[in-house]
């Protein structure tokens, strides 16, 4: 029997966790002699106060949606994919190859091509650790972390020695040709008469990310593969009984997960930088873990959590720019949010559950009349 109504589970628990994280953050800001209220105002106005701010918030959120979905899908099969960082980096390589070496007639075709390449490159990078776990028993947490480093080194090598244009000092590819430039939110919204900042990096990839959320939801809760994946995640012994192959599920899940992480490159490499640079992922792969944790591995939760983290990223950047609050404090605030929404979840949940139980008892003064099965 569920102790709490669903709305409390889905909204109340994360909300209270967030408020607690905010209170502690405020105390820290006070302690270093700054005004927390002013800081919050600055964050909100910087991240949400203008279409420019929104443009950045949504740009970051798009990144986090992809990496968050990647972690969430794997987590339903109880696989902990820590390798989003490396998979997204490899996705960037796929996007760069697609954009540089194929003459696309129109951005929409380029987008499709880049989606395929980013997905395949990210998927391959996740498939190797998956195979090592399924066949050789190497733990996927360890191997995906190691593959982050391998990806970084590999990209470093390729950018410096292979893709760097002759004469350039910068370890980056050449700029992508005009035909691959994706429309920004400014371009997308203009026909509807909505004016949106031209300078902000948010682009049409946001729609791809939202579509990915919907497709992941369908995959997990409406397809046989999703069913098998969840069954395997809940109980490997039961999955074996049902004839679900652990090898197949591990491989397919990680390929989907890696592909999703790879898709992030559409946003940052193709949509924003329009060339592949070193360290293009900038930690979004790791933020994806926090996003999936806070979103309870549900695509809708991931969507919301990604926007929240986009806000924290953009608001934090504004803080660092306009106040003497050091950049490190932003990391502290982000860490507090992760801590409270992820790790300290039970701290909020337990008292809430007790309150709901007490309320229910008060409503039904004689619970023994209810035909409940006593637990042993």
């Amino acid at each position: 029997m569920d102790v709490m109504p669903k709305w409390a589970e889905v909204i109340l628990v994360p909300l209270i966790s967030l408020i607690l994280a905010a209170i502690i953050s405020a105390l820290v800001i006070l302690a270093i002699g700054e005004d927390p209220i002013a800081a919050v105002k600055l964050m909100v106005s910087g991240a949400l106060g203008s279409t420019y701010g929104w443009g950045y918030t949504l740009y970051y959120a798009t990144n986090f949606m992809f990496t968050g979905l990647a972690v969430a899908v794997a987590f339903h099969a109880r696989l902990f994919n820590i390798g989003g960082e490396g998979q997204a980096a490899l996705g960037g390589l796929g996007v760069a190859l697609a954009c540089l070496y194929i003459p696309w007639p129109h951005w929409s075709l380029a987008l499709l091509g880049a989606i395929v390449m980013a997905g395949i490159f990210g998927a391959i990078w996740a498939a190797i650790p998956a195979y090592l776990q399924a066949k050789r028993g190497s733990h996927i947490v360890i191997t995906t972390i190691m593959f982050n480093f391998i990806a970084a080194s590999l990209l470093n090598y390729i950018l410096v020695n292979v893709l760097r244009p002759r004469g350039s000092m910068d370890p980056a590819t050449a700029r992508f040709p005009e035909g691959t430039h994706l429309p920004t939110l400014h371009d997308v919204l203009a026909p509807f008469g909505i004016s949106f900042s031209k300078a902000a990096p948010a682009n049409i990839t946001l729609l791809v990310a939202v579509l990915a959320c919907v497709l992941v939801w369908v995959l997990i809760w409406r397809t046989r593969l999703g069913y098998e994946l969840r069954a395997y995640g809940h109980s490997e012994s039961a999955a074996k009984y049902a004839g679900i192959s652990p090898f197949k599920i591990t491989m397919v899940t990680m390929i989907i997960s890696g592909g999703l992480a790879g898709l992030m490159a559409i946003n940052n490499v193709m949509g924003e930088a329009e060339r592949l640079v070193l360290n293009a992922v900038e930690g979004a792969g790791f933020i994806g873990i926090a996003v999936a944790l806070m979103g309870r591995s549900h695509p809708f939760g991931v969507f919301i959590a990604a926007i929240l983290f986009g806000f924290l990223y953009q608001g934090g950047a504004e803080l660092a720019l306009w106040t003497t609050i050091p950049r490190e404090l932003i990391v502290v605030i982000q860490a507090l949010v992760i801590l409270f929404t992820g790790a300290l979840d039970n701290m909020v949940r337990m008292p809430l559950e007790r309150m709901f139980l007490a309320a229910r008892r008060a409503r039904t003064p004689k619970p023994e009349r209810k035909p409940v099965e006593p637990a042993e």
């Binding site: 409406r222 098998e228 109980s235 039961a238 074996k240 009984y241 229910r360 006593p374």
Partner: protein
């Protein structure tokens, strides 16, 4: 304390305990007189274990008082219970496998800084205890080398070493052969003679009748009756447990065996660490008969079911309706087995048969999720599965009949009915059933047995594995006994008895 005082060894007054909305114990009062064996019987989920956990300090009661030998005693933790002279022998032993008997016994009760002195002291006490109560255990034997019966004695010795006057045994015979159970009862009798008080928790009526002086019956968290064992009957106790009249034996017509459905020839199975679990099994199951496999748990029955169910690999020949099935290749998985008409109610429904966090309707499709009836285009037809689940729940009397409830929220019996409904309604040629009524209440046992017999009467082959001899006798048309990966022999139920099967189960050759 002298045994002549009239104060009860244990008296519980008005104990209540709730877990969330579930009232596990409600206003329970009980008096256990010193020097007696007091049985507590009840269905799974009746609250027996909760009550004993309160007595042993694992849970704190919401209300009520505990008196030990007439003195009101608070038991906040198990240390306090031990100090009060209460010892507990759990269903699953809590022993360190690679320690010796002696080391296990002093574990947690070491005194002084040097282990040598406490070991020496313990050895002396242990020898004295063993002589006093007739427990033959070698103090230097390593636990993992001992059989379950011996391990249980170590648990009893552990409690006695901590000066327990009151011993609580939780389902002690679940893992024992009939002979080992008899030995245990002799030890318990001896302990009673020496003035110890024993509380025996069980759901087996036979044990209650055999050994206890007094018996208390629990139902739905309440104590429904306490009676002198000599003045009651198994039928009366069953009725008190369930709240209605219960058929203790299944009514079934004689079997009419037809063609051989399952033919197992020289089957070997070696498990992951490389231990040979099945050492050349030969067995046939015909249409329209129930073949029961008796044996103490861990003698290869599980591996046999797993192999036939498609998730253990083996060598040998298994014919299903005359055609061989793949034992180690590409088609040795659960999906292929189901396609061949083999349905499987696994031994452990919580680990294998069900996904406990899935809704009942999701569990109804489990293993059959590729069925076209559950399909709608590329997606699963969840509405169809839910409707199917609702119908199955009606036919199998699953309570509550709510497809959207998670499997873990059903009682053991209702969980089993969900599995049974799923497997039986596939209309299989062969049904594998492992421990069909383990952890299932008496009322549901009757229903489950009837369903299995009904399937047999439709001319299906049924292979039953159970560690409950009573169940084997009441369901089987033919009995095969397994020991150490071999079939020790086959018997017809009407031509054998528990004693003969017990000897076969212990690995002794018995000429027919």
């Amino acid at each position: 304390m002298p045994a002549t005082t009239v104060a009860p060894a244990i008296e519980l007054k008005g104990i209540s305990k709730a877990f969330g909305p579930v009232q596990a114990n409600k206003d329970i009062s009980i008096r256990v007189m010193p020097g007696t064996i007091h049985g507590i019987i009840g269905e799974n989920g009746a609250g027996k274990s909760t009550l004993m956990s309160i007595l042993y300090g694992f849970y704190k009661a919401d209300a009520g008082e505990i008196f030990i030998s007439g003195t009101k005693t608070d038991i906040p933790d198990s240390q306090a219970a031990i100090t009060a002279g209460i010892g507990m022998v759990f269903q699953h032993f809590k022993l360190v496998e690679n320690f010796t008997v002696l080391e296990n016994i002093i574990l947690g009760a070491e005194d002084g800084w040097s282990l040598t002195t406490s070991l020496g002291k313990a050895r002396k006490e242990l020898v004295a205890l063993e002589q006093e109560y007739g427990l033959n255990v070698n103090p230097d034997a390593v636990i993992e080398d001992l059989g379950v019966g011996m391990q249980q004695r170590v648990e009893i010795l552990k409690a006695l070493y901590r000066q327990a006057d009151i011993l609580i045994l939780d389902e002690p015979t679940g893992v024992l052969t009939p002979a080992e159970a008899d030995q245990l009862f002799r030890i318990l009798g001896r302990l009673r003679e020496e003035g110890k008080t024993i509380i025996l928790i069980t759901h087996k009526l036979r044990e209650i009748m055999e050994i206890t002086d007094t018996v208390s019956v629990m139902r739905r968290g309440q104590m429904t009756a306490t009676v002198k064992t000599a003045e009651t009957t198994p039928e009366q106790l069953a009725e008190l447990m369930v709240g209605r009249k219960v058929l203790l034996r299944v009514d079934k017509a004689p079997a009419a065996p037809g063609d051989v459905v399952l033919d197992i020839q020289n089957l070997h199975v070696t498990d992951e660490p490389g231990v040979e679990r099945l050492k050349g099994i030969n067995l046939q199951v015909r249409a329209g008969e129930i073949v029961g496999i008796a044996g103490v748990a861990g003698n290869g029955q599980s591996e046999l079911l797993e192999l036939l169910g498609g998730y253990a690999r083996g060598t040998g020949t298994v014919l299903m309706n005359g055609d061989p099935i793949d034992l180690s290749g590409k088609h040795s998985d659960g999906q292929s087995r189901r396609a061949r008409g083999i349905a499987h109610v696994p031994e452990d429904r919580q680990r294998e048969g069900l996904i406990m966090d899935f809704h009942a309707w999701e569990n109804t499709a489990f293993g059959y999720h590729h069925d076209p009836a559950y399909k709608s285009g590329p997606l699963m037809d969840n509405a169809a599965i839910r409707a199917d689940t609702e119908a199955k729940m009606q036919r199998f009397d699953v309570r509550p009949p709510d497809p959207k409830l998670a499997a873990k929220n059903f009682s053991g019996g209702n969980q089993q009915k969900i599995v049974l409904a799923r497997e039986i309604e596939r209309n299989p040629d062969l049904l594998l059933v492992g421990q069909p009524t383990r952890g299932v209440d008496i009322g549901a046992i009757e229903f489950i047995h009837q369903q299995i017999v009904a399937l047999r009467d439709q001319g299906k082959a049924i292979l039953l594995v159970s560690v409950e001899l009573e169940e084997i006798f009441s369901l089987s048309d033919r009995i095969a006994v397994m020991f150490d990966g071999h079939i020790m022999g086959e018997r017809m139920p009407e031509q054998t008895d528990e004693k003969e099967l017990g000897m076969l189960m212990a690995g002794m050759e018995v000429p027919q």
